[in-house]
Amino acid sequence: MTSATMTHSAPATAETAAPFLELSGLRKAYPGVLALDDFSMAVSPGEVIGIVGENGAGKSTLMKILGGVIAPDAGTIAIDGVPRRALGVAESIAAGIAFVHQELNLFDNLDVAANVLIGREPRRGGWLRLVDRERQRAIVAPILARLGASFGTDAPLAGLSLAQRQMVEIAKALSLDARLVILDEPTSSLPASETDKLLGVVAGLKAHGVSVIFITHRLHEVEIVADRVIALRDGRTAGALRKDEIGRDRMVRLMVGRTLAAPEAAPAPAAGAVALRARGVRTSAHPRGGVDLDLRRGEILGLAGLVGSGRSEFARALFGVDPMVSGELEIDGRPFKPRSAADAVAAGVFLVPEDRKSSGVLLDLPVAHNITLPDLRAHSRGFMVSAAMERATAEAQRRSLSIKAPNLATETALLSGGNQQKVVLAKWLAMSPRAMILDEPTRGIDVGAKAEIYRIVRALAASGVAVLMISSDMEEVIGVSHRIAVMHRGTISGILGPEDFGEENILLLAIGAAAKGNRAA
């Protein structure tokens, strides 16, 4: 069992002291998903632990438990040998656990010292409560020196690079006497030179006896800095590796691990004509990238990749809501330059967006109004909306997608997530799509509704529509797609045919390595 491997002191970490933080048997369930199951881990002072796992493996649940944001359903968290059922946010801070999140909690309009001591400013002037700038500098300067920062306490934050800002976050953690710094995907948006710098800071923390948990998709960084690695999969510890065992192939194998029950094979379509052609499409998220992709009629092309690989940005560029930095698009062989969603809709390119509640549906409008919203003119006589025509369309969609709603005048907010998503689909299916882009179409939807949505998507493709399906759910991508394109840092790192479908291949491409048996398509 894995816990045995973990409690085993590896030779490389034999000199480390007794663990100050011990997690055992942590479990956290959400409706329909076991986010964390029987997870155990011990952290010793000065240890660097890499945690790897796919999207949804349970990493963020673990972080939330450590940060005191959520309480586990079972298990204990022992700090300095004192076990507790859960941490509060204040207890987590008091225990010396500090986070550096992907999205930094910093203030652009303040200088470095003010950011480090935000909310804890040294005061002077009695009841005037003025900020003691001198003392502030005196506190922050040694921390920056310890981190080897190239900037001073008075540097305005706005002028710092991303890696430097992360250093400010780490300085903030150290000023709180952190014993454990948790870095969540710290390098995902850093260029190589900055990454090296950050890895140097991690080594420096270790040298000062501060422990680090390093969460990343970039496995070679784990190889460089981690003393040991824990791989998470489906909320469980898939395995643990000692320093001398860490290697990319082993990590990937642990992350993927399970053998999937053979997914319902999607019947391969006859090779259709190219409906949507993308050449060198770059978005502001990855201005150095460039997507080349052919989406054929009648196929479901899965678009896999890690969070932040630029998939949603690509989708939004296709739909005209985000500007393209450069690149060319064609619809059915004709140039296509969407400058707004209205342009894309007019060309028959529709998007089911990632965030259903903010951009998919208007929650406080009736179901029927949502369904006809994009195409009201077709439901009107003169400039007046025809209630009869609207009802007919909405009713037809409700039947064919079996949308469960008391009636068509029901506020969309009152529907379940799965039915809301069907409403989003319905508004496009009521028109005639040429290309349908689905961005995480089943996120936050229960299993039954998922199956129904897959049925709808397959029927849509079978009717000759080109479907691009972005998904972080491996089973979904493999089970529903005819082909799978994998995105890495704003480019397509590979396209897999059904014979090469497999989590390992997808993951390798997603982290920028070559897939096994991958044919470039």
């Binding site: 969603a341 209205a342 809709v345 007019a346 951009s359 208007l362 406080d364 919203l373 909306v385 009152l414």
Partner: protein, 331 residues
């Protein structure tokens, strides 16, 4: 008519009944006729304001536009000798132009509506004062425009024509807002601009159109105001009128966040405001307290409304939670 509007109507009738008991002169035809004339005048611009508020915006320059259009219109027909239909068309065009500029500044250049229209408030007021050199614009002795006067300030069977105009405009705008494709888009943009955009609506155009409608209706009401007062002192004419319009919309159930409100609501809001003004006069309350009464009533109204909907929401949430339980009882 929805529940909110019905509640507002009940409040109007209740206040009316109380005032009528305290001072029966409230029900004199001449008092009702005069009060409804004011409802007509203010209602026209309030409906315009309502369109902007539905988009989540605000139009603060209404009073200044009423002054500017007023002095220009009177000067055109009384001094320059421009035929009044032509002058009226020009004023309408000016209102549309102002609305277009405001709308484009808000949508294309992403300026905040409050800022854009606050600057408009200052600019147009200055322009009006400059145009007449701060002199009062008015008609010469014996100068008459019988048709225009009959149309704008006349009465038929005691019904002021401003009320007729309001009825026509309100009906038209009711159709636009509650039955047309554009009205649907307007509510969608006001409720959730992003989701509207993701549904392929050209949200910028919708917002500009709302400001244009507001500008046009403000210009129309400005002509009515000009013909009602017949003399326009550019420094004070129309002062605070935008606030009457905003207050009417808020009383009528509009949310300044956008996406909510009805034409009936804003008309009822205007009626209530004028009723309150009338009440101050008839009940011998010092007229200096005029604004305070209005402010107090609006505050109370919005407070009660907000608490009431919170209460209903809680009840609905409790109800939804209980229906989550499996239902085992036979039907």
């Amino acid at each position: 008519m929805n529940k909110k509007d019905a509640g507002l109507l009940a409040l109007i009738l209740f206040v009316g009944a109380v005032v009528a008991i305290l001072n029966p002169r409230f029900l004199l035809p001449i008092n009702i006729s005069n009060t409804s004339n004011l409802v007509g005048l203010f209602g026209l611009s309030a409906i315009g304001q309502a369109f902007v508020i539905i988009t989540g915006g605000i139009e603060l320059s209404v009073g200044s536009v009423i002054a500017l259009v007023g002095v220009l219109f009177v000067d055109f027909i009384a001094v320059e000798g421009v035929p009044w239909p032509l002058a009226f068309a020009a004023m309408l065009a000016l209102g549309v132009a102002i609305g277009t500029v405001h709308g484009l500044l808000v949508t294309r250049l992403r300026m905040q509506p409050f800022v854009v229209t606050l600057c408009g408030l200052l600019i147009y007021r200055g322009a009006a004062r400059f145009y007449t050199q701060d002199a009062t614009a008015g008609f010469g002795f014996g100068q008459n425009f019988p048709t225009l006067e009959w149309l704008t300030a006349g009465r038929t069977y005691g019904v002021p024509h401003s009320v007729v105009a309001l009825a026509i405009v309100a009906t038209g705008m009711w159709v636009v807002l509650h039955r047309s494709v554009f009205g649907r888009h307007l509510y969608a943009v006001g409720k959730n601009e992003e989701a509207a955009r993701y549904s392929g609506i050209r949200t910028g155009r919708v917002v500009v159109a709302a400001y244009v409608i507001c500008g046009a209706l403000t210009a129309i009401s400005a002509v009515f105001f000009a013909m009602y007062t017949r003399s326009i002192s550019p420094a004070s004419h129309g002062n605070f009128y935008e606030l009457y319009a905003i207050a009417a919309a808020v009383l009528g159930g509009f949310s300044l966040k956008g996406g909510e409100g009805s034409v009936i609501g804003v008309v009822l809001g205007t009626i209530l405001l004028q009723e309150l003004q009338n009440l101050v006069n008839l009940l011998g309350i010092p007229s200096s307290l005029n604004f305070s009464v209005m402010g107090g009533v609006i505050l109370a109204g919005v407070l009660v409304d907000g608490q009431w909907s919170r209460f209903r929401e809680r009840r609905r949430a409790v109800g939804a939670a209980s229906t989550d339980q499996p239902i085992t009882a036979p039907k």
